[in-house]
């Protein structure tokens, strides 16, 4: 278990992380969100023992990271921001080096190497030096390095940044499959990624925690959560839609002619709306239910 208490980090007079407290338990896959410069990477650097907190502490299984650094680092797999790697080494040499330094015995090392090479589809670039790799491949090498020792704690700073859509999907599946009974913290700027991969979302802005809950709870904060949007084939009287029980507000998009009905908090309006449409024979072409617009929520929470 990771336990963060009143964690702060200042650079000079600038406060990058401000009094952050949270716990992460086995099974948690935390999506760490926040605008640029929010302090995500700085927090991760403190979780992994790279930076010393200005105040507060990080404990892993009850031990303070800054006291038992090496011992705790054994359990952590970490992908630093930008996936730094020794550029002059080949992919194979690099992964070999990481496995060696992590103290993996020969058999275990070979098994680990084979596995990550397969999982991240690195076979074709094994003998290529890292400086000549494309950005996406570099990121994949960084990921491979982080998971090679099958760590109990995975901390990944923007793991899917720079990956093509197929690889993004692939890596998300990989993270999901790896995360059984583990503690995973990933930072990302892709909000859907949190819904797709994580079971917990945490948003920070200006170093302060703004939201901590499930991705669903995050979506529910959206005005669009369970909102019903319809497209009429020709103009019809729609004023009655506002009278439907549970409908809080209505918005008509002048350009597209789409009508959006917003539910009152906690209400599901799809049933009553479809009933109304049937009853009054409204000429509806299309109809869909929104799952909540994360961008709106994100903006609302962080600004």
């Amino acid at each position: 278990m990771i336990s963060v208490k009143n964690l702060s980090k200042s650079f000079g007079s600038f406060v990058a992380v401000n009094d952050l407290s949270f716990d992460v338990n086995p099974g948690d896959i935390v999506g760490f969100l926040g605008p640029n410069g929010a302090g995500k990477s700085t927090t991760m650097k403190m979780l992994t023992g790279f930076l010393t907190p200005t105040s507060g502490y990080v404990r892993i299984d009850g031990r303070r990271v800054n006291k038992h650094t090496t011992r705790l680092q054994k359990q952590i797999g970490y992908l630093p921001e930008g996936a730094p790697a020794y550029e002059e080494m080949t992919v194979y040499q690099f992964l070999h080096f990481i496995a060696d330094v992590r103290g993996m015995a020969k058999k275990e090392k070979m098994a680990g190497l084979t596995q990550v090479i397969e999982q991240l589809e690195l076979y074709d670039v094994l003998d290529q030096s890292i400086e000549t790799l494309s950005k996406g491949f570099k990121r994949r090498v960084g990921l491979a390095q982080a998971i090679i020792h099958n760590p109990q704690i995975l901390i990944l700073d923007e793991p899917t940044d720079g990956l093509d859509p197929n690889q993004k999907q692939h890596v998300r599946n990989l993270i999901t499959s790896l995360s059984k009974d583990k503690l995973v913290i990933i930072s990302t700027h892709i909000l859907e990624e949190v819904s797709a991969v994580c079971n917990r979302a945490m948003i920070i802005a200006d170093g302060v925690k703004k939201f901590d809950g499930t991705p669903l709870q995050l979506q529910q904060q959206s005005r669009y959560y369970q909102a019903v949007t319809l497209k009429l084939s020709y103009a019809a009287d729609i004023t009655g839609l506002l009278e439907i029980e549970g409908v809080d507000d209505m918005h008509v998009d002048k350009k597209t002619g789409e009508v959006t009905l917003f539910p009152a908090t906690g209400q599901f309006i799809l049933g009553p709306v479809t009933e109304y449409i049937h009853h009054y024979k409204l000429p509806v072409d299309r109809l869909h239910v929104d799952q909540g617009r994360l961008e709106d929520v994100f903006m609302q929470i962080t600004s």
């Binding site: 023992g49 790279f50 011992r71 680092q73 921001e81 730094p84 080494m89 080096f97 390095q145």
Partner: protein, 244 residues
């Protein structure tokens, strides 16, 4: 111990993966050749020893060791790999030791590759090879002190050029503190005790006997101590300032 070895091995390989080691060794060999045979009057002296060869080593190291060490930490900082390295389960001490051993091994290799000079000497006359071995040992010891200083300077900054210049500056102080110019400058006003202290930090003074093949305990201890102190300083720098 094993971890230190893995790091040293990686660093050593990195010297050869980038052309640094080749360039370094080539320049070292060329310059030591020039100094020995042209500047140092190797033939004209008509003596079967390598004094002219070893006498120039402090001056060679002054520029060449900072060049080979400037990358050691600066590059880790610049490329961000320091974050990778320091979040692996290793201590800063192991990282520093590994880097030092690797670079020191390259220096040893460069020294060993000067063997043609020694072969020439044995062909021309009958030198005391024990003395020569002692001088080689002394030279390598001294290069370790240069290296520890240069690596500490590299730990200070992510800019290799600044690391290089700082290293030359500090090394230069250590080299010249025993030379006539500096001592004359001090002589005018400093107490004799101060003068001796300044002179006792000089690489030149401590290497003088070594170049002639005399390995005195106090000279050996001096270089080992300087090396240890600067390695420790580098360790402090890294531990205090890991990021950027």
């Amino acid at each position: 111990m094993k971890t230190t070895f893995f790091i040293a091995r990686r660093e050593f390989a990195a010297f050869f993966a980038t052309p640094i080691a080749y360039v370094f060794i080539a320049i070292f060999l060329i310059l030591s050749g020039i100094f020995t045979f042209f500047v140092g009057d190797f033939y004209e002296r008509g003596q079967a020893d390598l004094l002219p060869f070893f006498n120039y080593h402090p001056w060679l190291y002054l520029f060449l060791v900072p060049a080979i060490a400037m990358r050691s930490w600066s590059e880790e900082r610049r490329s961000g790999t320091i974050e990778l390295l320091m979040t692996l389960p290793i201590t800063a001490t192991q990282a520093i030791a590994g880097k030092f051993i690797a670079a020191w091994a390259v220096l040893l290799l460069a020294l060993l590759l000067t063997f043609p000079v020694w072969v020439t000497l044995n062909y021309l006359g009958q030198p005391d090879n024990g003395i020569i071995l002692a001088a080689y040992t002394g030279s390598w010891l001294m290069s370790g002190a240069f290296l520890a200083i240069s690596m500490c300077m590299s730990a200070l900054t992510k800019n290799q050029v600044i690391a290089f210049i700082l290293a030359i500056l500090v090394c230069f102080l250590f080299v010249v503190s025993g030379s006539g110019i500096v001592l004359n400058a001090f002589e005018k006003w400093a107490a004799p005790g101060v003068l001796d202290t300044v002179a006792s930090f000089s690489f030149l003074t401590h290497f003088e006997a070594m170049a002639a093949g005399v390995l005195a305990l106090n000279d050996i201890l001096f270089f080992l101590l300087v090396t240890a102190v600067w390695l420790y300083a580098g360790l402090t720098v890294i531990e205090q300032k890991k990021a950027v």
